[in-house]
Symmetry: C2
Subunit: 385 residues, 2 copies
């Protein structure tokens, strides 16, 4: 019954009304009531709130057809913008995102060596200020900030519980950034917001069970179920990097042996490569494979096999209709996507589920986290009364 408690329904109703106006504008109050099954009183209350707050207005148009004429509601253009932030190991991306999920403007910063969490948060605040000023964004149109980052995030509290990649533990990111900027801040795992963006505006529009996999510096996944991020009990669903794929396998930084990420992620691949000869970058490793160096062929083919196994395991467990492959390894090396898809179809997907889903590349590419973070912030704004 949790889904239908009173608070949840109130928030959901507000978001539903806004979404309907956004997608079917101009539209009458009566039509909204009909589409949602809400009472006319509830619809009127929500609409009046949204008009008062400056997001909707009553247009001159009146509804067509028989019956009483009623004025139609429309959206105030540009009334809603949000800031999306991607926080990664070595850099930050900051962007302004509009209601349609378009990036209005953006900027990118490298992190300083050994930058503290506090300093990083200050720099995000400064970057947002500069972006707003430089692009003459009306401050009052910004409804909030969303931040996506690798690691386990308590999204309710806006707390970064644990991020190996950032070296952060229990950082109250939302509170600190709100104190610096004055805006409400939503924080989430980068793959969750990326998947949300792909579902709303990218490769998986219309999908009801979307799985996004990220293969890069980390290994992770995210599910979007009927339009909503699947979070699990403490927002750490999707941590496939630490599923055990070989109990006799390599030591993982987490203290277990044979975690999936030890076969796939970039630092593991480089550390394995360096058993043979000095290899500084992932590009060098793929170069060695292309040159036919057998050790590099073996190492990368093992990684590709485990990527295909991962797709199978997620498909068996969650039965998605769409699987999006993303992350640095996919985006930098186009052959990786093609080879993983081929391995899946020829060997690794359990036969009864072959053809039960479609493969996709990311539609928003490296913009996914910024756009998704911005959309997350907008969703939260409209859902909170």
């Amino acid at each position: 019954m949790k889904k239908h408690d009173q608070d949840f329904m109130k928030r959901q109703n507000r978001l539903t009304v806004f979404e309907i106006v956004k997608n079917s504008r101009p539209i009458s109050r009566a039509a909204i009531a009909k589409q949602t099954g809400m009472s006319p009183t509830t619809v009127s209350r929500i609409v009046n709130e949204l008009i008062e707050e400056g997001y909707l207005f009553e247009s001159d148009q009146v509804s067509e057809g028989l019956g009483r004429k009623s004025t139609l509601l429309d959206m105030v253009n540009g009334s809603v913008l949000s800031v999306g932030v991607e926080l990664d190991v070595a850099h930050m991306n900051v962007g302004i995102v509009d209601l349609q999920g378009q990036l209005v403007c953006g900027s990118r910063f490298d992190k300083e060596p050994d930058e503290s969490a506090e300093r990083t948060i200050e720099r995000i605040g400064e970057a947002i200020g500069e972006l707003v000023e430089l692009n003459r964004i009306e401050r009052s149109h910004i409804v909030g900030i969303g931040v996506g980052l690798p690691g386990i995030v308590n999204n309710g509290k806006g707390l970064v519980v644990f991020s190996v990649q950032l070296g952060w533990k229990n950082v109250a990111l939302a509170d600190r950034l709100k104190a610096l900027t004055g805006y409400d801040v939503a924080v989430d795992n980068e793959l969750k917001v990326k998947a949300l963006a792909e579902h709303l505006k990218g490769a998986a529009i219309g999908s009801t069970h979307t799985a996004l996999l990220g293969f890069g510096h980390g290994v992770g996944s995210a599910l979007i179920l009927e339009g909503e991020i699947y979070r699990g009990e403490m927002n750490s669903a999707g941590e496939i990097g630490h599923t055990t794929v070989d109990p006799n396998g390599m030591m993982c930084e987490c203290g277990k042996t044979g975690c999936l990420q030890t076969y796939i992620n970039i630092s593991s691949l480089l550390s394995e490569a360096n058993r043979i000869r000095p290899v500084k970058t992932i590009e060098e490793l793929f170069e060695a494979r292309r040159a036919g160096e057998q050790w590099a062929v073996q190492l990368i083919e093992r990684a590709l096999m485990y990527m295909a196994i991962t797709v199978n395991n997620i498909v068996c467990m969650n039965n998605p209709d769409s699987v999006i492959l993303s992350g640095e390894l996919i985006e930098k090396f186009p052959e990786v996507y093609d080879e993983v898809e081929k391995l899946c179809n020829s060997r690794f997907i359990w036969e009864p589920l072959r053809g039960s889903f479609t493969f996709h590349r990311s539609g928003l590419k490296e913009q996914g986290v910024v756009i998704g973070s911005g959309l997350l912030s907008q969703n939260r704004f409209f859902a909170l009364a």
Copy 2:
């Protein structure tokens, strides 16, 4: 937006009203409207339908407190019963389930050797007839039949797509059984209905993210998310038996190598045991382990390790608050549960998620599938207008 379309909301509202009356009876129409946020008109329409259909009645009591007195609604006792059926490799269980999820009466039948699907369905129909007659059940109180079985089920059509255990492929179970009995028939995977039963009436009451694992003749899992069975795109979520745990592992009946079930399920364990000496039953194998025969110790300890790995992998992927271990291996051999829990806590659960969930034995034991199937049928009855 799919979750909030008009049809879905209508069905959900009807079920919600019925659930509230069931759990808070006697209750007024106004209180239902307040608790749900539905309009008084909608509540009245649904309540009137349910009264007309004989499930609710207006009691003599009137609501207390200030304001206008209003009559209170209550349930007609015994007005709703359903039939739950468990269909397994070697036997069938049939039971009558009441609104509280109690088994009113039940019977068990062995299947005949090489019984056809058609014959099995006829025998289910006969068994239901006998059960109803013998226990003087009022036929009009039975709202439908639910059937739980191992395999992939198209739950919308009531079609058994594929069941290795039953040897069935594309069997229109719901249609056939409805033709024989006259009742509406809901069909689903056994672990999904078992998990539903444990969530509603068993070990996981109050849990919002429940994972149930079944270790027995097959290996599978089910998720209950906020009270609803998680199905995925084609109702085959939870098929963990065919996740690959070792690409160099044993040949699975599915044609892949190293599927999880080749390390855990009863027939695989027996087939491995028979490489050493003739072993007919799983009890014999566990006996050999207790007697300290090293090959049996190794074989079972490997299975226990893979069970613990499976718990970790599900926890990493889905982040549940409760994990229920069930199935023949758990229920027949109490040490299995204890050892898997110990292995999980000492070695196999990824450290950040240790303590993020509680372990449970099945609360309904071997009754879970019959009760869950019965409850599934009731849920469907109240959700369909």
